[in-house]
């Protein structure tokens, strides 16, 4: 990596970083396989795509900018309720509804980002958690608007592009969520491989030094927090649109904790960690929860303890370490 920078300068460095590897192309082609191989699991597949998108949003602030959030479901749920309400009020066009959900979540993210960048450590955890609880309680109490504990019912979507029906098997739902995930993934990839993304990683490693070299750290953090909120809002919006229902649970602490678990399991700060984590987590839950839904959380907890103590960089981090060791063995 260092000789690349020396040879071609900063520009070359960014280009080398952003180059597509063949493994990535194979990965994205593989996401189309469920259509042919497991057509009866398309509903689950679209859940996975939505969760992966949500985890990707968290990855932007946690993996790259180092901001911990125990309440990111606030934006997920806010986007979901926005998308749901727009359609309930008579505008069922999916894409514009999704855009509005993203904008609404971004506005909320922008407003709260001023608080977020001022605090750190326990206060940061508490404020993110508190904001999420605040929204959850508000949605719970405003039953006339949100349906309260019963969830938001009566969401009806028009056909996608006026052509594709939202079928029971989830063909349209999976295609739609996968497309949204892919587009926003490209956006996230572009962001983190830009000079702005490099600044964020600098802030994560040492905020004081970044300020000293002249980077406006707080403004950068506010920008990425807003973007992350927007992405989470879109993920929530896709969920509301594809399931045509919004549960109060989309705003819950459990949802926030779950997405954190998924991201850390896959590996934070690696883009694909969010997706891998979502695939493993949701497939495992689908398999095990049939046996005993209560006990499912025991294994999640155990998994967390094991990952934190033994695999500090998640599954992808562990794999990367293994690969590096292999390579070192070969060269020596």
């Amino acid at each position: 990596m260092t000789d690349v920078t020396a040879a071609a300068g900063a520009h070359g460095y960014f280009q080398a970083q952003a180059r597509w590897r063949w493994l990535e192309i194979v990965f994205w082609l593989a996401t189309l396989l469920p259509f042919v191989l497991t057509p009866s699991y398309l509903v689950l597949a679209s859940q996975i795509a939505i969760t992966a998108l949500f985890a990707l949003a968290l990855d932007l602030i946690l993996g790259y900018a180092g901001l911990i959030s125990l309440g990111h479901a606030a934006f997920f749920g806010f986007g979901a309720y926005t998308a749901g309400l727009i359609s309930k009020w008579g505008w069922g066009e999916p894409l514009s509804g999704l855009l509005l959900a993203g904008i609404a979540a971004a506005l909320l993210g922008y407003a709260t980002s001023f608080i977020i960048v001022r605090v750190s450590h326990l206060a940061l955890i508490m404020i993110t958690l508190g904001l999420c609880l605040l929204l959850h309680e508000a949605a719970n109490r405003a039953g006339w608007l949100t349906g309260g504990d019963d969830g938001l019912q009566g969401v009806t979507m028009w056909r996608l592009f006026g052509r594709f029906e939202w079928d029971l098997y989830g063909y349209t739902a999976y295609a739609y969520s996968l497309a949204v995930l892919f587009v926003l993934f490209l956006l996230a990839r572009r962001i983190i491989h830009s000079p702005f993304g490099l600044t964020l990683r600098g802030i994560r490693e040492n905020a004081g030094r970044m300020q000293a070299v002249g980077a406006p750290t707080r403004r950068r953090l506010r920008v990425i927090y807003t973007i992350s909120a927007a992405v989470a809002g879109v993920a929530g919006g896709v969920l509301a649109q594809t399931t045509q229902f919004v549960a109060l649970e989309t705003l819950s602490f459990q949802r926030s904790a779950e997405v954190l678990v998924i991201l850390v399991l896959g590996g934070a700060g690696r883009l694909y960690g969010a997706i891998i984590g979502a695939v493993i987590f949701l497939i495992a839950r689908d398999q095990f929860s049939g046996i005993n839904p209560q006990f499912w959380y025991f294994w999640i907890g155990l998994l967390l303890v094991v990952v934190v103590t033994l695999l500090p960089n998640g599954i992808l981090g562990g794999l990367a370490q293994l690969l590096a060791q292999q390579r070192r063995k070969k060269s020596s």
Partner: protein
Amino acid sequence: MLAHFLGVLIDGPAYGMLLFLLSVGLSVTLGMMNFVNLAHGSFAMLGGYVSVSLAQGANWPFFATLPAAFVASALVSVLFERVLYRRLYRATDLDQCLLTIGIVFMSVAAAAYFFGTMQQPANVPLGLRGYVTFLGIDIGRYRLFLIVIALIITVGLVAGLEYTRFGAKVRAAVDNQRMARGLGINVDGLFGITFALGSGLAGLGGALAIDMVGLDPNFALKFLVFFLIVVAVGGLGSIGGTLAAAMLLGISDTASKYYVPELGAFVLYAVMVGLLMWRPQGLFGKRQ
């Protein structure tokens, strides 16, 4: 109106005292090691279940189950501290959060597995049930009992921290961990003992809480938020701050239940977010 006011006047402090017992250990250990222990509520829940199962399975009297709850929580917490927490003292906030959330999830599932998901009955002795009438006002006996017990423990804690050698060492370690190490204080050992004491108090609080707030497997998650609010608002490592925050929280939560029940916990969270925006280090915390 007057009945409401008196209700708040008795129930609020009783609830606040309970929250203080439950969260004071977390405050001191967080202040000392800066370890974000989200599993504190699991130790409190353990105390509750120990008390219930001893009272029902072995027919222990209620008062005898209280020390047992304390000891059980303290011992289990020391085990966790030695085996798991110890590795992560220098890890990031995120890793500490994740490890302890993992423990919370495991404890919730384990409690559901062994005890079922229903509410556990409180085994309060007859003498503590019902009301005493004082100046024409009915006061719950158990509420009074809670306030008295918590006051005794608070006085004991403050005296222990202020007037004993052990307390002086704890205060030194909370104030400046590196300096305390430099002076030859065994901070790790000290932390182990403090951690056990704090978790034991949480366990005792968990046992005492059953009659007032109930006990089910979700206790650890439900009250996690309350502990964190108390600690974050009170300021890390400050006993007085924790007491003030716990009373504030207990009274305001009770008052909002009496006066504006339609808002629910909304007021509480809004107050917490506002307070933390104003003073991120807590009401009585030191400026960092």
